[in-house]
């Protein structure tokens, strides 16, 4: 039996095989099939062609109406209606809309719908987020989603992997977001194409679940099939807290083969910003001069969790958003919203002059709730800064951590948190 990576072990188990090796095509059983209000309608249309009257397992499909909701226009409303009717007809347990809805990749972990060792496919590229929990999770298209809903199966080519050995303790103001942006800057937006990114090392103990989720979230921005973290006490504690199923822990074999191994000393890293129009265009603060901004967005499946809002509140407490800046804060789920309310963060944001939005993807994909005009610039805690991503084709998005985004809201230009805090 050949040595396997974490990812390969999960794929082998779900293919009912003793072992698999890179390049092999396998048919696997899936534990969860996910779709949103953009991808599910296409999947439902495909599913209908099979003329089935039920999905493979009503508890293993999740439909999350997060992108254009609360419905931004009539067409978006029609798409949600199609999903809602389908969910009712198929008796789907995990249908989320209205006051239940949050950004899918923040919502599923929080609801305990994914556990370590699971295999999850989602018709959304950031499905890779759940790798933070020690699951194999990957984005697929709507036809794969339809096939998953019908058969409970998916096909995969077993990937090879790159190992990231994280060591050392991150310095003040350094977040998981900075670490993953640094890695993407280092290997490029196709640096992990078709492959797994496996995160391990004694530096993991300094990374909260929230930071791991935002790192695994961006594995796709390096082209990876999946990103996965070794399971430790922090993972198990989190899974217990949210009431997830019994975790199954897979460790990579000692002699597992990796295409490349990078050792990253977290104590040496500095906050970074990814410049337009690719997440790989990363710069540290000594590499650029003043850049004036028009908007700040703190939210999304990358950085819309409670810890992210806590950091933003720390920076914005008793301060004001610069007069020419619109600062939009979007708690990623209703639970996060409520907790931020109870902890007083929302009040801090309102007093600082921010807009606080209901949970939605909204501006992250240029949907609604904060679209950029021609020539405008935004600092966002989101994950993509492609041409036209947040609005006009001549607008710009700079990706950064919640620390940097909140500090920039105060100064009105892209700023290191130190500038505001010290």
């Amino acid at each position: 039996m050949s040595a396997m990576t974490m990812t390969q072990k999960i794929l082998a188990k779900h293919a009912n095989l003793d072992s698999v090796s890179a390049g092999q095509l396998v048919l696997v059983d899936v534990d969860m099939v996910l779709g949103n209000d953009i991808t599910s309608p296409v999947a439902i249309n495909e599913f209908r062609k099979l003329e089935l009257d039920k999905v493979f397992d009503k508890d293993k499909v999740a439909l999350v109406m997060d992108h254009f909701t609360p419905n931004k226009d009539i067409k978006a409303a029609e798409q949600c209606r199609q999903c809602r009717e389908f969910a009712m007809e198929m008796n789907i347990t995990n249908y989320f809309e209205g006051g239940n809805v949050g950004v899918e990749h923040a919502l599923l972990p929080e609801k305990g719908l994914v556990t370590a060792g699971d295999l999850v496919i989602g018709a959304d590229s950031h499905t890779c987020t759940y790798g933070a929990l020690g699951a194999f999770a990957t984005g697929v298209g709507s036809t794969d989603m339809a096939c998953g809903m019908a058969t409970g199966k998916a096909w995969f080519k077993v990937p090879s992997a790159i190992k990231f050995e994280l060591t050392g303790k991150p310095s003040k103001y350094l977040m998981g977001k900075d670490i993953i942006l640094h890695i993407i800057g280092m290997i490029g937006v196709d640096g992990a194409l078709y492959r797994s990114m496996e995160f391990t090392g004694d530096g993991l103990k300094y990374l909260s679940m929230s930071e791991r989720l935002s790192m695994a979230n961006m594995a796709i921005e390096a082209g990876a099939k999946n990103g996965i973290f070794e399971v430790d006490e922090i993972t198990l504690e989190f899974l217990k807290e949210v009431g997830a199923k019994e975790p199954v822990v897979f460790k990579a074999d000692e002699d597992a083969e990796y295409d490349e191994v990078y050792t990253i000393d977290l104590s040496k890293l500095e906050p970074v910003v990814a410049f337009p129009h690719l997440p790989e265009n990363t710069k540290t603060f000594d590499q650029f001069d003043d850049i004036k901004i028009d908007q700040v967005v703190i939210g999304s499946c990358t950085n819309g969790r409670l810890e992210d809002l806590k950091v933003a509140a720390e920076v914005l407490k008793g301060r004001k958003v610069a007069s020419h800046v619109r600062a939009i804060i979007i708690p990623a789920t209703p639970k996060i919203y409520l907790e931020a309310l109870e902890k007083g963060y929302l009040k801090i944001f309102m007093n600082a002059g921010c807009v606080v939005s209901a949970p939605t993807c909204g501006p992250c994909l240029g949907g609604h709730m904060g679209i950029l005009a021609k020539g405008e610039r935004a600092v966002a805690t989101t994950n993509r800064n492609f041409v036209g991503r947040m609005g006009h084709v001549e607008s710009e998005v700079y990706l950064a951590s919640p620390y940097v985004a909140a500090a920039s809201a105060v100064t009105g230009k892209i700023s290191h948190p130190r500038e505001v805090m010290e």
Binding site: L25, Q79, S125, G141, C147, K153, L193, G223, R384
Partner: protein, 165 residues
């Protein structure tokens, strides 16, 4: 199976946001979606594309979102084939699943220019640039994927019991 048409050329990392911007994704109507194909990178695309045309691009074509709308609008626009140095993985599987022909051919991309006439024979795995009089070999798909393509996409494979059997 063959493809024949003129080349429409793009660079590296053509992402799904420029292939079909998210602001138009509030519909599944293919014609309406296709009217915005490539709008943010090449506003002239819809005027110059003719049935059979071939998109030739650099590395990591289709990176970004998992939206299947991206290969759908390319196919709906009449593009018969996309040749790239490499494809983003979700785009790659979506193209196969919906039946849009794609070929990875790193060596031929740099030698092709916008407007070149190109003929591709899928059975022989042969790419011929008629304008430049050059021929290239493309590697065939593995059998598992060929089965999906021969069945006319993933949904038909399930219908025909060729998947998960």
């Amino acid at each position: 199976m063959n493809a024949y048409g003129k080349v429409i050329k793009y660079g590296d990392n053509v992402d799904t946001d420029v292939i079909i911007p998210a602001r138009y994704l509030n519909t599944t109507d293919k014609k309406e979606l296709a009217s915005h194909c490539m709008e943010d990178i090449d506003p002239d695309f819809k005027n110059k594309v003719e049935p059979g045309d071939i998109i030739v691009a650099g590395k990591n074509f289709g990176c970004g979102s998992s939206r299947e709308h991206a290969p759908i609008v390319i196919k709906e626009s009449g593009i018969s084939l996309v040749i790239a140095k490499s494809f983003a993985r979700i785009f790659y599987r979506n193209a196969i699943n919906i039946g849009l022909a794609i070929i990875e051919c790193p060596e031929c991309v740099d030698e092709m220019d916008e407007g070149d006439k190109v003929r591709v024979d899928f059975d022989k795995g042969e790419i011929v640039n008629e304008t430049k009089n050059k021929t290239y070999k493309a590697s065939p798909f593995p059998p598992f994927i060929q089965t999906i393509i021969q069945n006319g996409g993933l949904i038909n494979s399930i219908k025909n019991n060729a998947f998960g059997g």
